[in-house]
Each structure stands twice: as structure tokens, then as C-alpha cells.
């Protein structure tokens, strides 16, 4: 009796098992095609994703996609970058034109919902709407901005957040709306408005372009939460895991002090089991994740470095953008980046 039940279970397993063992639909498709299609911001996004003079895509978001390609294929070059605009990005993802978006899309409930059916496996950049004011106004907090004239782009959530913030704090403001960001910056630079508002990363980039950047401060308030990260279609758990653990590997590596320069040496000499498992020296984390290689994380760090190194290369203080790390430090340095352990 017991034996027949076991046999039936075994038969059932044999019949349905292999189907279950296959990866998700999207990951299968990527593997079959042999290349991942990654949607990046068109025309470009300073530091995050832009084509260089040779037409090769570069930047923070671009390296995130290449890192995912290492996990899937063991090869950072098996990515095709597909430029998508703000208007076309989600239709492009939904229609299968791209497999993954890496273009500073904010994780929101609406996008994650069963209506839109997208999935945000991990956050790679914590952004938030901020306000910049001239230093000479001696303003230290956004709460002092009652009656201010504010330069803002129309028709965006930026405009909505601004109105919400001022209404919530019982303050009044006069908007100066200009659609083009360069024009908007000139309006602010020439003194047509007291405040320039945008997401922090964009605002910091705009500050470098002012006639006297050092004369302007970005106020500490973040009046909106803009967690940015890669987006995929809902319904493929394996791809979700792969994207998430690619990002986690970058963050874990920074937390543990593993860098592009020392990764091989640490892999050879470390006795810390968590480090050894992350770098694929022991255990089979890579295999259980569905990565191409057991040491996928080591390969990613060897190629691009850890999260901090990628950040510093494209966005950090020594780049023209000069973004401070702020919220994007690891948790043990006072930031929000916290990745689950590789075990």
C-alpha cells in the first residue's frame, strides 16, 4: 500500500517534475535567445546611462544590467541595450520588447500591482525629490519656503509632490513651469525663481551646470520617496531571484570590503564562511540560484567592482555629477543599503 502510494507520487513527480524544474518563462526566453534585452533611458541620463562618442552605452544602470548578464550567462557582453523613453518604457516591457528595464524607474504600488503586472526585484538607488536654493537666502529647511517662487517641470509627479508638500504644510508658492530641463535651469540661474525642484540626482547634476555651483545648496528634505531599481514582468520567480541576488551580491561585497582589486586574494585566503559562499569558494549558491557559474558574484566584482565602486565610477564625488552617497550608503555606514546574507 505504502509502496503503491510512493510509486504514484514518484510517477506524478516524473510527469510534472521536469516542468517545475524549468526556469520561468522570461528567463527561459532570455537563455534561448542567448542575450538579454535591457531597456535604458533615451535619449540619455547623465551618469546613469548614456552612449559615449562611439555609441557604446555606459553608466551606473548599464553596469547593473551587465552584472545581471554575468549572473545569467557568465558574460557581461550578452546584453542588448534598447533605448526606451519615459512614455514607452512600460509598454516596451509589457510587450516583451525588453526583458528588463534599468532606467531609474520608481517602485510604486500601481506599477507593482496586478493591474500593471511589473516586478521590482531590488532597489539600486534611493532618490527623492529635493529643493535647491541660493546660499545667500540663508534658508536651511524647506519649511521656510512660504511664498517662494519655484521652478518646476510641468506634468510630472514632481509638480504634484511639490503642490502636495506646500499644501500639507500650509504654505503658498508661485510655480514657474518650464518643460525643458535646460531652460528651467537657466530660469533658476537667472533668478526668475527662488527654488529649483527635481529628484536629488537630477538636481545635483543640474547644480554642476549653474554659473556658480558653490553658491547653491540642496535642502535636506526629501519631499518624496523615489526608490529606483530594475523592473521586470511579474510572474517569473527565477528571474526575480537572479536580478535581486545580483544586486545583493554587489551590496554584500561592499559591506564586507570586497573590491575589484582584492576579490581574488580574499577568495583565496578568507576563512569567513559567508564570504567564501558569496564568492563561490564553497557551497553551491550560484547553482541553486540558477546562475551560469557558481562564482558569479566573484566574476561580477572582478569585472565591475562592488556597489560602492560602481557608484563612485559613474555618480560619485570624483565624477562631474559629484553625488554624495547619502541614503545610498550601506546600512553599517548609516545608509539604507541592506542586502540579505548569502547563505
Amino acid at each position: 500500500m505504502k509502496l503503491t502510494a510512493f510509486a504514484a507520487a514518484a510517477a506524478a513527480f516524473l510527469a510534472f517534475g521536469p516542468v517545475e524544474a524549468l526556469a520561468g518563462r522570461d528567463l527561459d526566453q532570455i537563455r534561448q535567445r542567448g542575450v538579454m534585452r535591457c531597456g535604458v533611458q533615451a535619449p540619455s541620463n547623465p551618469g546613469f546611462g548614456f552612449p559615449n562618442a562611439q555609441g557604446v552605452w555606459q553608466g551606473f544602470n548599464v553596469e547593473i544590467c551587465r552584472a545581471v548578464a554575468i549572473t545569467i550567462f557568465g558574460d557581461p557582453n550578452r546584453v542588448e541595450f534598447v533605448p526606451v523613453t519615459t512614455q514607452s518604457r512600460f509598454p516596451a516591457l509589457a510587450s516583451g520588447e525588453v526583458d528588463i528595464l534599468s532606467n531609474n524607474s520608481t517602485w510604486t504600488l500601481t506599477r507593482d500591482s496586478n493591474v500593471n503586472r511589473f516586478n521590482f526585484p531590488a532597489i539600486v538607488f534611493y532618490d527623492g525629490q529635493s529643493m535647491m536654493v541660493p546660499r545667500r537666502l540663508n534658508i536651511t529647511s524647506a519649511r521656510q519656503l512660504n511664498g517662494a517662487t519655484v521652478c518646476v517641470q510641468p506634468g510630472t509627479t514632481t509638480e504634484l509632490n511639490l503642490a502636495d508638500y506646500f499644501r500639507q504644510h500650509n504654505m503658498r508658492f508661485t510655480p514657474v513651469v518650464v518643460a525643458d530641463l535646460d531652460e528651467l535651469r537657466r530660469a533658476y540661474d537667472s533668478g526668475r525663481c527662488d527654488v529649483f525642484t527635481n529628484d536629488f540626482a537630477a538636481l545635483a547634476a543640474q547644480r554642476t551646470l549653474l554659473s556658480r555651483p558653490q553658491d547653491h545648496v540642496i535642502l535636506p528634505e526629501r519631499i518624496s520617496k523615489e526608490p529606483l531599481g530594475p523592473v521586470i514582468r511579474q510572474g517569473d520567480e527565477e528571474l526575480t531571484n537572479i536580478v535581486a541576488w545580483t544586486v545583493f551580491a554587489l551590496i554584500d561585497a561592499e559591506e564586507m570590503g570586497i573590491t575589484q582589486a582584492n576579490v581574488e586574494q580574499i577568495a583565496a585566503s578568507s576563512t569567513n564562511p559567508i564570504v567564501r559562499r558569496l564568492l563561490g569558494v564553497e557551497g553551491n549558491m550560484g547553482e541553486s540560484l540558477g546562475a551560469a557559474r557558481a562564482d558569479y558574484a566573484r566574476q561580477i566584482i572582478r569585472t565591475f567592482g562592488n556597489y560602492g565602486e560602481i557608484y563612485e565610477r559613474w555618480l560619485g564625488e570624483r565624477t562631474p555629477l559629484g553625488l554624495e552617497r547619502g541614503m545610498n550608503r550601506t546600512w553599517n555606514n548609516g545608509g539604507l543599503l541592506y542586502a540579505p546574507p548569502a547563505r
Partner: protein, 363 residues
């Protein structure tokens, strides 16, 4: 033009440059109103030109990095220099750029050849029949040892040229058919053509492109894919045809009834009548309107950015996002404006020449 301003006295057969200049100056200052207008214009020029010249030439940076540009007050042409090839080839693989370069060369030769009336025979058609697929194969590769390059990587001036030339060349004959169909005596044909024209003309080009690029794949059966550039070209061609059809129809309606009746009384068939009598005249009188539409449609090619195609204008906007070259939008826009102006002005001049050639008596 200055010659027409000369007084109507018997002048020497060909007035010299000095004489023409003298007449021009005289015409500018022959009365208080003209004197005031001329002085205002001179003041405007004095006010505008020196600073512009200083910015664009004297204080401009012609080579170097963004740092050297920021040290100088003038224009940063080094930026355009750095991004020039990117603006021509876009995202096309850099080591393969000889292919779009030769494709552009063929395209220019073919377009120039097509503008010369002496070449308007079946050899030109044959030339296009060979060149059009050849250019496509050259760009796409995958045969003859050429590495395969997806159409989504085509970009820059190359893709602007492809969309404009292919779209306008395919859309033009289609527009004539649509215009004839809209005036057809066959009810079904008339309804069909009217529906196409009105539906396509009634929506913005952006939404047509969006439908073709993004929405269409959602409706196609699983596994059926049509290349994105083909879909975009299809939408653009249809749009071109719908707009041109109305211009052509205007020409058809402007023809006097006598022309139709004369052709009928000669016993010509419908197609003979159209080909030999009506269309040559109708197309000739609508040349200004046609070129107007052509130029508009040519500039509309920049809208393909909305579906992520990197046309010429988009490559420049993308270059503005290079963190090493932040802050030179003016230079990029001036360069883009110059290129579009040269191309559109060439079209305009060519149309004027055509008008002169076709209707020598009309001027």
C-alpha cells in the same frame, strides 16, 4: 532680387556689382519710412552680429575637453567634434561604421541622381531597385561575411536618411493612388481611400509610431515578429501618403474640366488620361505644396525618438547626457539646426528649380 528693385529706366544689359549695390542702397534710403526701417535693421545687426560672431568664432573652443571649453566664454565646438561621428552613425557598432558610411554615400548619390531630369528614365528606377535592397543588406549584414547588425542599433543621420528617403519615396506613389482613389467613381474604392486618408491624417504621427512599435506586437500572434524599423517605416510611409494624397487631390481638383473632357474625347483610357494628361499638370502646379509637406514630414522624422529610435536629433540630445560634456545644449542645437536647415533649404531650392523647368512661362 536686388535687380527688381532697380528703377525702371533703360539699364545696361548686365549691371555691374557696383551698380547693383548702388541701386540697392538707393532703394533702401529713398524716403523717410525706408530710411527709418533701414536704420533700425542696421542697428539690429550691429547689436546682434558682433556678440554672435564673438561667441561662435572668436572666443569659441575648436578642440580640447569640456574643461578647456569652460575656460573660454565662446561656443564649444570641441563638443560637436567629439560627438560628430556619433551624430552620423548613432549606436551602430563603431568598428563597422564603414558600412553606414558607404550606405550614406550610395544614398546621397542616388538622391542626387534622382533630382536630375536627364536621368528620369527606367535606368533610374532599375538603379533604385538595386540600391534600395543593397543598402539594407549592407546595413543589416548577416550575409557575405558581414556581421549581423540589428536595425535597433542603426542611428544618427543614417537612420534619419533611411526613414526620410524610404518613407517619402514609398509614400509618394501611394499618395497618388490614394488621391485618385478618393476621386474614383467606384464607391468602394472611394470609401476605402477616404477612410485611410482620414483615419491616418486624423491622428498624430506620434500615436501612429507608438501603435506600430509598441502596441502592434501585443496583437500579433505569438512567434510572429516584424522588424521594428519596418513597422516604423510602414507607419511613416502611411502618414506621408495620407498627407501627400490631399495635396495631390488639390492638384487634381484644380485641373479645368476641359482637360478631362479633352482626354476623354481622344479616346484615352482612364490610366492613359491620368498618366499623360492630368497627373503631369496636377503634380506640377502643386510642387510648392508638395515640397512644403515634404519638408514638414522630413522634420517629423525626429519623432521616432518616442519609440527609442536614435535619429540624428536624438543622438545630439543623448550626447548632452554625457557627464564629461555636461552643459553645452546651445552648441548641440545650433549644429542640429544648421544640418536641418541645409537639408530643408536644399529641398526648397530644388523645388524652385523644378518649377522653373516645368513652367518656364509662369514666372
Amino acid at each position: 532680387m536686388s535687380a527688381t528693385l532697380a528703377p525702371a529706366k533703360p539699364a545696361p544689359a548686365l549691371p555691374g556689382l557696383a551698380a547693383r549695390a548702388r541701386d540697392f542702397v538707393k532703394a533702401c534710403f529713398n524716403g523717410p519710412l525706408n530710411i527709418a526701417i533701414s536704420l533700425a535693421c542696421i542697428a539690429l545687426l550691429v547689436w546682434l552680429v558682433p556678440p554672435l560672431f564673438r561667441w561662435a568664432v572668436l572666443e569659441a573652443t575648436w578642440e580640447g575637453t569640456a574643461q578647456s571649453c569652460r575656460q573660454n566664454a565662446g561656443a564649444c565646438w570641441a563638443f560637436i567634434r567629439e560627438k560628430f561621428w556619433f551624430s552620423v552613425f548613432g549606436l551602430y557598432p563603431f568598428e563597422e561604421r564603414w558600412r553606414p558610411a558607404s550606405m550614406l554615400a550610395i544614398l546621397v548619390v542616388m538622391v542626387v541622381a534622382s533630382t536630375i531630369r536627364r536621368f528620369w528614365n527606367r535606368w533610374l528606377l532599375l538603379g533604385w531597385a538595386i540600391a534600395a535592397p543593397a543598402m539594407w543588406v549592407l546595413m543589416q549584414g548577416g550575409v557575405f561575411g558581414l556581421p549581423y547588425v540589428q536595425t535597433r542599433q542603426w542611428g544618427g543621420l543614417t537612420i534619419t536618411g533611411i526613414i526620410a528617403v524610404y518613407g517619402l519615396a514609398l509614400g509618394y506613389p501611394l499618395s497618388i493612388l490614394l488621391a485618385l482613389g478618393r476621386r474614383s467613381k467606384l464607391t468602394l474604392v472611394r470609401w476605402f481611400c477616404t477612410a485611410i486618408i482620414e483615419c491616418v491624417r486624423g491622428v498624430p504621427l506620434i500615436s501612429l509610431l507608438f501603435m506600430a512599435a509598441i502596441m502592434l506586437p501585443l496583437f500579433l500572434p505569438q512567434g510572429v515578429t516584424v522588424d521594428r524599423l519596418i513597422r516604423v517605416l510602414f507607419a511613416y510611409t502611411l502618414f506621408t501618403a495620407a498627407y501627400m494624397a490631399e495635396v495631390v487631390r488639390g492638384g487634381l481638383q484644380a485641373m479645368p474640366r476641359g482637360q478631362y473632357e479633352a482626354a476623354d474625347s481622344l479616346g484615352l483610357t482612364y490610366w492613359q488620361k491620368m498618366r499623360l494628361i492630368i497627373l503631369p499638370q496636377a503634380l506640377t502646379i502643386t510642387i510648392p505644396a508638395q515640397v512644403n509637406t515634404f519638408i514638414g514630414l522630413f522634420k517629423d522624422t525626429t519623432l521616432v525618438v518616442v519609440i527609442g529610435v536614435f535619429d540624428f536629433f536624438t543622438t545630439l540630445r543623448a550626447s548632452l547626457g554625457d557627464p564629461n560634456w555636461l552643459g553645452f545644449p546651445t552648441e548641440a542645437y545650433v549644429y542640429a539646426a544648421a544640418v536641418y536647415f541645409v537639408l530643408c533649404y536644399a529641398m526648397s531650392r530644388y523645388s524652385q528649380r523644378l518649377e522653373r523647368e516645368f513652367r518656364p512661362g509662369a514666372r
